[in-house]
Symmetry: C2
Subunit: 317 residues, 2 copies
Amino acid sequence: MPDKVLRMTRSEASGRGLRPVMLAIAGDSAAGKTTLTKGLVEALGEERCTSICVDDYHAFDREERKSKPFTPLHPDCNYLDIMEQHLQLLALGRPILKPVYDHTTGTFTRPAYVEPREFVIIEGLHPLSTKLARACFDVTVFLDPPEEIRHQWKIDRDCAKRGYAPEQVIADLERREPESAAHIRPQRKYADIVARFAPIATRNDPPDTPLSAELMLRPTIRHPSLSQIPTDDNRTAMHLKILRDSDGTPTDCLHVHGHATTEAARGVEKAIWAELDVPGGPPQSLGRITDDRRSEPLAITQLILLFHLLSLREGVR
Amino acid sequence: MPDKVLRMTRSEASGRGLRPVMLAIAGDSAAGKTTLTKGLVEALGEERCTSICVDDYHAFDREERKSKPFTPLHPDCNYLDIMEQHLQLLALGRPILKPVYDHTTGTFTRPAYVEPREFVIIEGLHPLSTKLARACFDVTVFLDPPEEIRHQWKIDRDCAKRGYAPEQVIADLERREPESAAHIRPQRKYADIVARFAPIATRNDPPDTPLSAELMLRPTIRHPSLSQIPTDDNRTAMHLKILRDSDGTPTDCLHVHGHATTEAARGVEKAIWAELDVPGGPPQSLGRITDDRRSEPLAITQLILLFHLLSLREGVR
């Protein structure tokens, strides 16, 4: 890690009146936001990161929601005005008193005093849903897995960690679908990076092959120069092509193959890291899904985000 | 009440981008802040007022405070930065998500979404303790009863409503005294109005005589013209004199006598009300201490505050 080069303690940062680098990771429930965030925080160092989930701005607790005609996906179910306020405050380097929603009990508990460190990572259902909220971020990501994969992730997680039965989760997904379409998926168009983890449809890889990543790198921010990276040695790990975005503007689209060899993937990682002009190699914590599962496409996605965070930090020094 | 003349619904106010009139009522624990506030809210109408207590910005719950070297009176025991933030937001007409501290259990509960209405009344231990907080108010009051009276009020209240024994309250008052001196009483100098409810030392009134009020009306804001109000009919109810404030500046000092007849007191109330140029007479709810106890000095104090609130509201229309 480039700790020696880029480390700056919070008090130094405050003393200089620096504002943090703000990253949004938006996406539907169980789209992979927390997994993506964890690897970034570990790579940057917890002492330099503030990572919060903005799904705690619910206006109603679980009991109250039962009598409401909407799910937590609906803007009216959330204090989005307070979320905007808190994002602005964090972006200005100011502390907030964040509401805390306990997913286990479905109730609100003691709020948390949160101070922004050098890097603020905001994940949630709604961070890109309003203009004022979007204006608070330096880099924005939308996680866009195929719905059948996301559904399976949600069933797995909600049953394992939040005490639901599979039928409950499936019913919940159905109930949420119209609001996903109306309020969550529209945020995709505001992201600088759209990341989609999925198997490659045209291949017949064995089931334990890591998911491939398709990254839409929109020209709304300056991305690392990736066009020279695929070489004869690592071309199996990724390829880059330009295409037209749905609105007609040219965009880069990076494919990172889950079936590539670790060696080829590591070659790509080193090449991206070299762009940053920081000593040492890419952080080892990237790509971790669970303690014993690793994905090179995830590592490369995180590396590109790390590139943005670190180069923006340099920019504000 | 002048409801027809001055009523404006919240949505009208928001639509016009109006900011609320902000009143601070500062003072030590059990100084009478809530009693003063209640009469104002009732007179103005609940639908036009937002009244909050800013003693909920504790950084620690009751259990955690046991191991701390300070009481809730100490700035370090509170998130005064968050309090400042919330006061600024309210002053700009924006909502806040306010922390809620449960005095019964000594723990934090679900925060409350609070929108500023036309009049925002902020009471608490610390509202005048920082420059940024003070800048949020249009009118500031400090309640300054003699310590022996405040101690008795605190014993009565904490035993009746918060489940303490008298010895506990007395021990608490002793423990708090150095921090009262260091952090609460210094706020007195920043108030536009200092109100002191006390018996008149030179008289020997029967024990059920209402306390008299001594109101220091500092020239930091424009007060109603009171110099013509004492007439032959009501001179027993109050008198006004100018004196030098502790910093040497001239100030008005209004004495309102608890021993005056209701008739004389009502004469004064009508005369102050006439200054406002609003139809109808002064609100009947002023001066109420409990359901069956009334104090004309309290009513006159509230009337002067009402004068300020209503004339400022007119000013922003």
